[in-house]
């Protein structure tokens, strides 16, 4: 369903994604893990047509995101890591906007928007402007919006960032269900290793732009002789903190919480 071959992205002379290859079969849940600044989001941006690769090949549902942009776009849905809501619109309007852009028929759209807003517990607040929402509420809304249309492939870039454990659990059970019922392929990133361990069938670990390990969580634990995916992750990527990136991303997380304009 997703194929990536020798994909590289350079920003000037900095290589953010360095010759990576991976493949995700139809209907699988795939976790793309790595320390801050490893190149996860950059890879997703290329897969989702937002960024042109420097070199390499990609296929989404058989379509090339560089040349068959429209077909590729029809194949996926995405929940971005960074904020992506229109804060001057209400929660309902954001959902509706998405449904219309993705041509979800009106009656299905109405029903699904209500169901999803109830699911993320924002139905009571559906007519409030998003700029008055808390960080967690915005995140829940973004996830709900990503599920308004049912794509073949769902990209989730740190979907559970900033959410409490109850909500995380709740959302993952919904996504796992979609994966089962509709055979939706799920490609996600997270920094919560136990989350990846629980939901992903296959995992790839990327560090400094290069893929350093691939396999099932079980295999990775075996390979590194560790008992948790977290330890396996640390064994594979080292304990050094990615300083500059940590600074930047912390800033972003703060920003996300404090954004009350």
């Amino acid at each position: 369903m997703i194929q990536v071959k020798n994909l590289t992205k350079r920003f000037n002379d900095f290589t953010a994604v360095d010759n990576i290859s991976l493949s995700v079969p139809d209907g699988e849940i795939f976790a793309f893990l790595g320390p801050n600044g490893a190149g996860k989001t950059t890879t997703i941006r290329m897969l989702t047509t937002l960024l042109h690769p420097t070199s390499g090949e990609m296929r989404l549902n058989g379509y090339d995101p560089v040349t068959d942009q429209n077909e590729a776009r029809r194949s996926f849905g995405i929940v971005f890591q960074d904020p992506s809501l229109d804060e001057e619109l209400t929660a309902y309007e954001n959902m509706e906007f998405h449904g219309v852009l993705y041509k979800v028929p009106k009656d299905i759209r109405r029903g699904r928007v209500e169901q999803l807003l109830r699911f993320v517990e924002l139905w009571d607040r559906k007519d409030d402007l998003v700029k008055h929402f808390s960080g967690g509420m915005k995140r829940r809304l973004e996830i709900a919006r990503g599920l308004v249309h049912h794509p073949k492939i769902l990209f989730l870039d740190e979907p559970t960032l900033g959410l409490d454990p109850q909500t995380r659990d709740h959302i993952w059970s919904y996504i796992k269900n979609l994966n089962k019922e509709e055979r939706m392929t799920v490609f996600f990133t997270t920094h919560y290793m136990e989350e990846a361990d629980r939901v992903a069938k296959q995992v790839a670990i990327i560090d400094k732009g290069k893929i350093v390990a691939q396999g099932s969580p079980q295999e990775l634990k075996h390979q590194t002789n560790t008992s948790s995916l977290e330890d396996a992750f640390l064994a594979l990527t080292g304990r050094a903190i990615r300083e500059e990136e940590v600074g930047a991303i912390d800033h972003l997380r703060m920003h996300r919480r404090m954004r009350h304009r």
């Binding site: 937002l50 429209n70 971005f80 992506s84 809501l85 852009l101």
Partner: protein, 248 residues
């Protein structure tokens, strides 16, 4: 079709929800009308120019359309900064539709703005010369609005962030406004200024509005219409192309 409609609707909602933006964008033209209109009125009259309010109003209407339209176009930079642009760009809809929806939305808002300023100007004593010409005045309003929304989109497609914004205000918008004949007649100006005014699209908009709302044209209404129409067409194509190349 539904794509264009929902994008159009979004622009309108954002505009009507932003009360400060509405008040701000109506306050400025009103101030210009009052201060300049009454301030220069007597001199203009003595110099044989006639009623200055009559002369000035079409220029001020053009100004408010210019500002609103350009800002609507440039809103893409905000969308980029607040992340919403990504949401639109990953959707399986053609870039041209996105561009058209946004441009129509921005142009609708700017046209409304022009109509409101016209109504306000009635309070200050402006009187349109002929009711029969009002539909044509509206046509010019829409053309100016389309032109500068598309120009805003084109510029915004080239800018990464708000850094360049002040530069654009000072070196593009202000000269466009001041060198358009909005405030003074082009007749009898130094050759250099006339040359600049003739390559300034807003001059044709001001001329068209003045010719249909008040008296006296410089270039002629047909010329105004053709120039504006051709530039709108070009900008839509160029803007659409640049917009389709945006990476986020």
């Amino acid at each position: 079709m539904s794509t264009i409609y929902i994008l159009w609707l979004r622009q309108l909602k954002r505009y009507f929800r932003s009360k400060t933006r509405i008040i701000g964008s109506l306050g400025q033209p009103l101030l210009f009308l009052l201060a300049l209109g009454f301030g220069f009125g007597p001199i203009f009259q003595r110099a044989g120019g006639g009623n200055y309010i009559q002369f000035l109003t079409p220029g001020i209407i053009a100004m408010s359309i210019l500002f609103t339209a350009l800002f609507s176009g440039i809103e893409i930079i905000w969308d980029r900064q607040f992340g919403f642009l990504k949401e639109t760009l990953v959707a399986p809809v053609s870039r041209l539709q996105i561009m058209i929806g946004r441009t129509l939305g921005g142009a609708t808002v700017a046209s409304l703005q022009g109509v409101i300023v016209l109504l306000l100007s009635l309070l200050v004593g402006f009187r349109p010369v002929s009711m029969a010409l009002l539909p044509m005045a509206f046509l010019f309003t829409v053309l100016i609005a389309l032109l500068f929304t598309a120009l805003g989109t084109t510029i915004a497609s080239l800018l990464e962030d708000m850094q360049g914004f002040q530069l654009i205000m000072n070196f593009l918008v202000m000269p466009i406004f001041f060198l358009s004949g909005a405030l003074f007649p082009l007749q009898g100006l130094p050759k250099g200024l006339i040359a600049v005014a003739s390559v300034n699209p807003l001059s044709y908009g001001v001329d068209g509005l003045r010719g249909t709302l008040a008296n006296g044209v410089h270039f002629g209404l047909t010329m105004d219409f053709l120039v504006l129409g051709v530039i709108v067409a070009i900008l839509l194509v160029v803007g659409g192309y640049l917009f389709s190349k945006i990476q986020v």
